[in-house]
Amino acid sequence: MLVCLTVTAGCLGAADLKEARVTQVVKDVKLGLPQAVPQPVAVGESFRDGDAINTGVTGRSELTFADQTIARLAAKTNVSFSNGTRSVDLGEGAMLFQIPKGAGRLQIKTAAIAVASTGATGIIERHGQFYVKVLVLEGTVRCYLTNRLGESLLLQPGQILITKPDVTALPEPADFDIAREMKTCLLVRDFQPLASQRRIESEEQKQLKLIAKGTYIPSNLVILGRGTQVTLVNAPPTTPPSKPLTNIGHESRTP
């Protein structure tokens, strides 16, 4: 049985900037304090630097920071916090982040890859040593390697980057359909509407215009759910590309 409890972010007004709170819990979510056994977490609980949050196989959670930055954790995800909770270390799993315009810079690190922004909504996923995936729904996100000076790129709305966690050079991003992502993402559908919803819709409209203009061609390549497995679906009404993007193969491989 799903137990979803939501607390409005308004109650966070007086919160310390170095503190954030759990604002939604779905099933199995645990808070791991430093040097303590992880305990089930409840809505309203706060967490600080050094704390870690883990979600179980069916668990999900929403965390709200004092500046209204939101992080939604997918199932089987573990994250920890540092630098006054402005730095999130994603050990495994996936999270949606929504950083309000004008909020402080939030950095999310996973393996040697980091993403940072001062105003954006996106999704980051790490699956063990196999891949890291970053999607941007609105705003601009800087993606860079923490161990290589200058290896940095800006991801714009509608761009997806898929790479290995131990990469030494970032690949070029590809483009994805924001509207389809929004319709199918449970971290969007099963939670309260995002504060950045209108900006995301605006980006969807821009993509539609670019499709109408011919700048974008919807391909018949879809990544369903997690992973990088690409499914060849029925060709869209418009002409598909002559060859698939080179970074995404037709065949799947299970790690």
Binding site: K133, G158, A174, F176, M182
Partner: protein, 294 residues
Amino acid sequence: MHGQAPPGSAQNRAQLLGGQAYPGPSATPSAETEGYPVTSPNDKDIGEQQILKRVEEYKPFTISVYSPVYWTSNAALVSRGEQDDVLVAPGVTLMYEPRITNTLYAQVGVIQQFFFYDQLTELNFASLDVIAGLHYYLPQFHNLSLRGYYDYNRLTTTDNFDEIFVNNSIILNAELPFRIARAQQLLAGVALNLSFEGNPQSPRRNNYSLYGTYDVALSRSFSLDAGFQFVVRDYYSGDRTDVNEILSVSANYRVRDWLTLSALSSFAWNQSNHSVFDYSVANIGGGVALTLKF
């Protein structure tokens, strides 16, 4: 010899400052992505990503207007009696680079630049280049870039455009980029500028150049460039051969996609087998460039 430039000095000045003021448009082949097909637990938490194929919109026309201003330590590029001055070098570049194949581009362009001195106005001149050629990329060879083009160069006075020198040459150029990281790049190049017709004869020469550049983007808007060029100039008349070294450093701030502000500096040393043509010069200044692609 105050204020009087030796033969070829206008050419030297145009080559020293003209290239730095505007690096020139270059067509770049689009990079394709690479990736790793892997699956993981197929839940729907992060949804479905339908891949959109972006159709590259190639813009073959470039218009650039720029105006660097320099303080120069040796306005006339002379070995003795050097005089400093302030130099303004506004220019405009019109370039058309149609794509013939994915890696082959044609290149046709007109470059007009003026060189106005504050004090030594008798040195003022204008430089017109009309170029036409081909630009070929070899992605399989480390993104080697090969260019070959014809260059018609005409130097004139600035008041009534009387001809000072006209030159016809073939320029062959190879460049090899080395990407250190996404925001840092080294580039090594070799260029041959072979004059096959010119008037008068005394400034006519062939240039054989080796050069290297280093670019680093410190942010999305701010970048630093440094370059070094070694040139042998073999003159057609007078048994004259010069060896020229140029070091340049610039900082560029891109205010908009079409507007760039720059701080520019260059230092050049020229050694000739005729010592009267030896000189050294430092140029320090800044500039603004407006560039439109369509």
